[in-house]
C-alpha cells in the first residue's frame, strides 16, 4: 500500500500570518484520513496545498507519488468548504461542465450527472437552477460534482456542514462505499464524532502545526486509559485543584478528567471519594473529542 498524498515540511504564510508551519504527514492509499483541528488551525490551507490551489512557500507536496501536475489533479475530486457551483446554471449543466472539464466526454458527463442526481434523490431537480435548491441539496450536488469523474483521491472540506442528520448519514454511507471501492478520502472537519466513525487515520492540527498524527486506533491506545469518567453528588469544583490531573471537563454532576502521566488512578479514586458521593468512577480510552480538547486546550493554556 503506497501513499497517495505526502506533505513534507510544508509552510505557508499570507503576508505576516503563518497559516501552516512545518507540516508533514502522509496518506496511505485507500484510507479515510481526517484532517482535524479548531477553526483557523490551517486545515483549509493544508487542503488547498494538497490540490495545488495554494503553492507552499517551502516544503514539498506530492500526490500519487509525484509533484502536483494537471494529469494528477484530474484524479482528484474536491468539495470546497463553501458552495462552489454556478448558481444560475441548472444542476445538469453544472455537473456536465465540471465533468467535462475533468476530462469526460459530453455523453458520459450527462449519463453520470443523471446517475448521481438519482443516487442522491434529486432527479426532479436536475433541470432546476442551483440557486433554487436548498442549502442541503446544494451540498449534495456539490458532492456529486466532486465525484462525477470517479476520482481516486477525494478531498472534502467540511462535507457535513449544512446537512441535517438524515442527509449527513446518507453522505456517510456513500463515503463508506467509496472507501470499499478503494478510493482515498481526505476529510477536514471539526466534528469529532464524524471523524471518529469514519477515519482510519487522523492528523490533528492547531495553529498550523501537527499536534497528533497517525492511525486512529494507535493514537487512542497510545493515550492509554488515562481518562476517567466520574458521576457524583457533591460540591461544585470537584478536583479543580487536584495535582493528579492535567485536564478537567465539568458537566455539572458528571466530570471527565485526564490523569497526569504517571499519576495513579487509585490515588485519584481516594481523593474523589473523600470529597464527594460517587455513583460511577470509570477508566476509559479517550474519545477523539477528548484528545482534541486535551491537546488543543493544553496548547492554548
Amino acid at each position: 500500500m503506497g501513499t497517495t498524498v505526502d506533505l513534507d515540511c510544508v509552510r505557508k504564510a499570507y503576508d505576516s500570518t503563518v497559516a501552516v508551519e512545518n507540516l508533514s504527514f502522509a496518506l496511505n492509499s485507500g484510507e479515510v484520513f481526517g484532517l482535524l483541528g479548531p477553526n483557523g488551525a490551517g486545515k483549509t490551507s493544508t487542503i488547498r496545498m494538497m490540490i495545488g490551489i495554494v503553492i507552499p512557500d517551502s516544503g514539498a507536496v506530492r500526490i500519487f507519488g509525484n509533484p502536483i501536475s494537471r494529469a494528477a489533479l484530474r484524479r482528484v475530486g474536491y468539495l470546497p468548504e463553501e458552495r462552489g457551483l454556478f448558481r444560475r446554471m441548472t444542476v445538469r449543466d453544472n455537473l456536465m461542465l465540471l465533468g467535462e472539464l475533468a476530462g469526460l466526454g459530453a455523453s458520459d458527463a450527462l449519463r453520470r450527472a443523471r446517475e448521481w442526481t438519482a443516487r442522491l434523490g434529486l432527479e426532479e431537480w436536475i433541470s432546476r437552477r442551483v440557486e433554487e435548491l436548498s442549502r442541503g441539496m446544494q451540498q449534495k450536488i456539490q458532492f456529486a460534482a466532486a465525484l462525477i469523474h470517479e476520482p481516486d483521491l477525494i478531498v472534502l472540506d467540511e462535507p457535513f456542514s449544512g446537512l441535517d442528520p438524515v442527509n449527513a448519514n446518507s453522505l456517510k454511507e456513500i463515503l463508506l462505499e467509496l472507501k470499499r471501492e478503494g478510493r482515498t478520502i481526505v476529510l477536514s472537519t471539526h466534528r469529532m464524532d464524524h471523524a471518529e466513525k469514519l477515519c482510519d487515520a487522523i492528523c490533528l492540527v492547531d495553529h498550523g502545526r501537527v499536534v497528533v498524527e497517525g492511525g486512529l486506533r494507535e493514537i487512542k491506545s497510545n493515550y492509554g486509559k488515562r481518562f476517567v469518567q466520574i458521576e457524583y453528588q457533591g460540591p461544585p469544583g470537584l478536583l479543580a485543584d487536584s495535582p493528579l490531573i492535567d485536564s478537567r471537563n465539568d458537566y455539572g454532576n458528571y466530570l471527565e478528567v485526564g490523569l497526569k502521566p504517571g499519576a495513579d488512578s487509585q490515588e485519584l479514586l481516594r481523593e474523589v471519594s473523600a470529597a464527594a458521593r460517587l455513583s460511577r468512577f470509570e477508566l476509559m480510552e479517550p474519545s477523539l473529542e477528548q484528545i482534541f480538547i486535551d491537546r488543543v486546550g493544553r496548547r492554548d493554556a
Partner: protein
C-alpha cells in the same frame, strides 16, 4: 511560463467559452438588447427629426399661420407691409389691426400675453429715413419666430415707398428686386476623397466598441467576480488553469458581443435594402467589403484587450462595488481616442497619431481611422495588429495570474501595490 498563465490546451477554454455563451444567449436581456435596442436607437434619432420638421413647418403638414399686429403712425406703410407679407408668404400671416395709427404698446403687449396675437411690429414714419421697426414676440416662441420674414416685408414696403416718393415708377422697384436670382446647387463628391464622411465607419466602430465594452466587458468582470465569490473557482482550479478560465470567459462573452453586433449588421442591411439608394450611401460612408473585414479584425482584437483588462479587475477585487472605479479608468484610453479623432483627420501622419495607432489601447480606433482616410504603410498596420494580438494574450495571462492569486485572498480589498506583487507570485 507559470501554471496560471498558460493558455493552452485550448479544450477547457473552449468548454468555458461555450458555457458562458450558451448560458447567456437565451436570456431575456440579451434578446431585448439585440432586437429592441436598435429600434429604440432608430426611434431616438428619427423622432426629433420628424418633430423638428413638424415645428418648423418644412414637412407637408400645413404651415403655421402667424397672427401679427402692425402698428405705427404711417398707416399707408403699415398697409404696404401687410400686403408684402401676403404677397411673399401667402397663407403664412394673418394681419390684425394693421391700420392702428396711434399704437398703444400696452394694449398690444397685453394681447400678446393673452395669446390673442403671436406678436406685433411697430414701424416708424416711412417718410423719414431710416425707417425703424420693432418686433415684439412672446418668449414662448422658439428661435426668432417670423422675424426674418417680417424684416424682409418691412424693408420691401419701405424701399418701394421711398422709390415712389423719389419719382421712380413702381415697376422699376419690382425689377430691382429681381435682378439677382441666387440658387444653391450640390455636386456629388467621390467617396474615396471624402474623408469626413468615410469616418462614419470609424465612428460606428467606436460606438459599437464603447457599447460592447460597457455591456460585455463589465459582464466579463462580473462573471469573474461571481465565480470567485461563490468559490466555484476553487473547484475549477483542480481541473483547469486560470489562463484557460480567463480565456474561456473572454472568448465566450466576446462571442456574445460578436453575435449581437452581427445581428445588428444583418438587421441594418435588411433595413437598408428596403430604402432605395441606401446601400450606395452606406458604401459612400466608408463601408466597403475591405473596411468591413478590417472592422471585424480591429473590433475583435480591441474587444479582447479591453475585456481581458476587465477580467483582471474582476480577478483583483471581491465585489463589483470595489471594482466600480476601474470601470471608468479602463475606458479612459478609448475616450481619449474620440478626442484624437480630429487630429487623425487633420494630420494622419503625425507622430502622435502614428504612435496612437500602434499603442494597443488606442490602436483599434486610430489605426482603423487612418485606414479609412488614407493608406498607412502596411508594416504599421501589421505591427498594430500584432501588438494588439500580443497584448490580448498578455492581458489574459496577467488577469489569469491575478485571478490565481486573487482567489486565495478573500475579504480584503487589495491595494494596487499588492496586485502588482501578485504578479510576481508563483
Amino acid at each position: 511560463m507559470p501554471e496560471g498563465a498558460r493558455i493552452i490546451p485550448i479544450r477547457n477554454a473552449l468548454l468555458f467559452a461555450r458555457h458562458e455563451y450558451l448560458q447567456r444567449v437565451p436570456t431575456l436581456s440579451f434578446i431585448f438588447s439585440t432586437l429592441v435596442l436598435p429600434a429604440i436607437f432608430v426611434a431616438i434619432i428619427w423622432l426629433p427629426t420628424v418633430a423638428a420638421r413638424r415645428i418648423s413647418g418644412l414637412s407637408t403638414a400645413p404651415a403655421r399661420r402667424w397672427k401679427i399686429a402692425i402698428a405705427g403712425p404711417d398707416t399707408a406703410l403699415n398697409a404696404d407691409v401687410a400686403r408684402a407679407l401676403d404677397d411673399k408668404y401667402p397663407g403664412e400671416f394673418q394681419i390684425a389691426d394693421h391700420l392702428a395709427a396711434a399704437p398703444s404698446s400696452k394694449s398690444l403687449a397685453a394681447q400678446v400675453r393673452s395669446g390673442q396675437i403671436d406678436g406685433y411690429v411697430t414701424i416708424s414714419d416711412g417718410a423719414r429715413m431710416p425707417v425703424t421697426a420693432e418686433f415684439t414676440r412672446p418668449d414662448s416662441i422658439l428661435g426668432d419666430g417670423p422675424a426674418t420674414e417680417l424684416k424682409y416685408a418691412v424693408w420691401l414696403a419701405a424701399t418701394e415707398g421711398w422709390m415712389t416718393r423719389h419719382g421712380l415708377p413702381e415697376t422699376s422697384a419690382a425689377r430691382i428686386f429681381n435682378i439677382v436670382d441666387f440658387k444653391t446647387v450640390t455636386v456629388k463628391v467621390a467617396p474615396s476623397r471624402h474623408k469626413e464622411s468615410r469616418l462614419a465607419a470609424v465612428v460606428v466602430l467606436m460606438m459599437v466598441m464603447f457599447f460592447s465594452l460597457l455591456t460585455y466587458g463589465v459582464m466579463v468582470m462580473r462573471a469573474v467576480l461571481e465565480e470567485k465569490n461563490s468559490r466555484v473557482a476553487e473547484v475549477l482550479m483542480c481541473s483547469t488553469t486560470a489562463g484557460e478560465l480567463m480565456a474561456g470567459k473572454v472568448l465566450g462573452i466576446g462571442a456574445l458581443g460578436v453575435t449581437q453586433v452581427t445581428a445588428w449588421a444583418i438587421l441594418g442591411a435588411l433595413f437598408a435594402s428596403q430604402i432605395p439608394g441606401a446601400f450606395s450611401t452606406i458604401v459612400a460612408m466608408g463601408f466597403g467589403i475591405g473596411t468591413l473585414v478590417w472592422f471585424v479584425i480591429f473590433y475583435v482584437l480591441g474587444y479582447l484587450v479591453y475585456s481581458a483588462m476587465y477580467a483582471a479587475v474582476g480577478a483583483a477585487f471581491n465585489s463589483s462595488d470595489e471594482a466600480q472605479q476601474w470601470n471608468f479608468i479602463i475606458m479612459l484610453p478609448l475616450i481619449a481616442t474620440a478626442a484624437l479623432l480630429n487630429v487623425a483627420i487633420a494630420r494622419p501622419s503625425s507622430l502622435l497619431i502614428v504612435a496612437g495607432s500602434i499603442f494597443p489601447l488606442t490602436s483599434p480606433v486610430l489605426m482603423y481611422a487612418r485606414m479609412a482616410i488614407g493608406h498607412p504603410p502596411i508594416w504599421q498596420v501589421a505591427l498594430s495588429v500584432a501588438v494588439l494580438a500580443a497584448t490580448a494574450y498578455l492581458a489574459i495571462a496577467v488577469s489569469a495570474r491575478i485571478y490565481r492569486v486573487g482567489i486565495l485572498m478573500y475579504g480584503k480589498r487589495p491595494t494596487v501595490q499588492e496586485v502588482i506583487r501578485w504578479l510576481h507570485y508563483a
